[in-house]
Symmetry: C2
Subunit: 200 residues, 2 copies
């Protein structure tokens, strides 16, 4: 039998088109297929923070996800017990400060630009502001929940979010790129079924 392995699933596995492509074209299809394949594995355990389930539900127009809790343990991390090394918080505060400064620079540049009309300016502003302030850095409490849950239950984070990956590195938490997860899961489900067939 294989050793037990644990995964914490981030929303991006189902919402990022590139990440979910093995599982399905839409978010709901991807969730359903993930649950189907996951149910065929016996040595893998899946976890999801409550906040990520809520986030996922907003992508599904608030529809309940059938059988989610049968396959996935939905629980919040024990935030009042877990600790984060001060050195990591220091890095995070420093990175956010850099990004805040960068955000002001891109904003000023757009404000000063004379070439573009207002609607183009607004468009560029939203895009570049997001790039400066949010891309590649942890930017939501849901992301942080994913990391802390992985730390708590000693699991591997499955995500397509670069900011989440970066902070997982800082914290020494394992992660697996969401776009390669379909392949891994399918392989594990096949190995399990081969094993079951051999033992009967």
């Amino acid at each position: 039998m294989h050793k037990e392995r644990r995964f914490v699933i981030d929303t991006s596995l189902f919402t990022n088109p590139n990440a979910r492509k093995g599982f399905g074209d839409s978010t709901i299809e991807a969730v359903k297929n993930f649950l189907k394949i996951a149910s065929k594995t016996s040595h893998l355990k899946f976890y999801m923070p409550v906040s990520i389930k809520k986030e996922l539900k907003t992508f599904l127009n608030d529809e309940e996800i059938p059988f989610l809790e049968a396959i996935v343990t939905v629980k919040s991390p024990a935030l009042y017990e877990l600790q984060v090394p001060a050195a990591v918080v220091y890095k995070l505060i420093d990175e956010i400060r850099d990004r805040i400064n960068k955000g002001l620079r891109v904003t000023e540049k757009i404000l000063r630009s004379e070439k573009e009309d207002l609607s183009n300016k607004i468009h560029y502003l939203r895009q570049r502001y997001r790039e400066a302030l949010r891309d590649g850095v942890i930017d939501s409490k849901e992301d942080f929940d994913v990391l802390m849950l992985a730390k708590e239950v000693d699991a591997i984070v499955v995500t397509a979010d670069k900011g989440l990956m970066k902070m997982a590195e800082w914290l020494g938490i394992a992660f697996f790129e969401a776009e390669r997860f379909y392949e891994l899961l399918s392989y594990e489900a096949k190995v399990d079924s081969t094993f079951l067939n051999q033992s009967t």
Copy 2:
């Protein structure tokens, strides 16, 4: 004799005109007077992170501060040993996210405004962007050093920075408002000299 009490000194005690007013009109004058009064206390201990000393030196055109180390223990917090509760990091990430969203709203509003000329727009942008992103929230690694050093040596933070105070509250770290510190320190120095005179 009084019980020993420890203080971590933030730059704002000397750079914020309102905070330093008892100590002096300029930063250098405030530092010198602080050191003079502090040297008269025997039961108070003073600390300053290395990064805060560097920050202070930039305000003094890189001049060395005479006798600083005689009165103040200058040391960095042990960031690789200290831990921060995950619940506090969660609150911080959530607050920064709110502020990033607010920053985009104020920026868009200024971009759309038709009343102001470009130089006014830039002026408002810098002011409101700062208010949205940085005021009232911990926004630099120097601030974080102050908090962690206070945690490490069990000291009271002396600061005029609202963001620092807020995170001190979250972390259960004592703080004292910089603008009332001249009064406290003068009182303690007087009590000490009275005690010394009585015992001779």
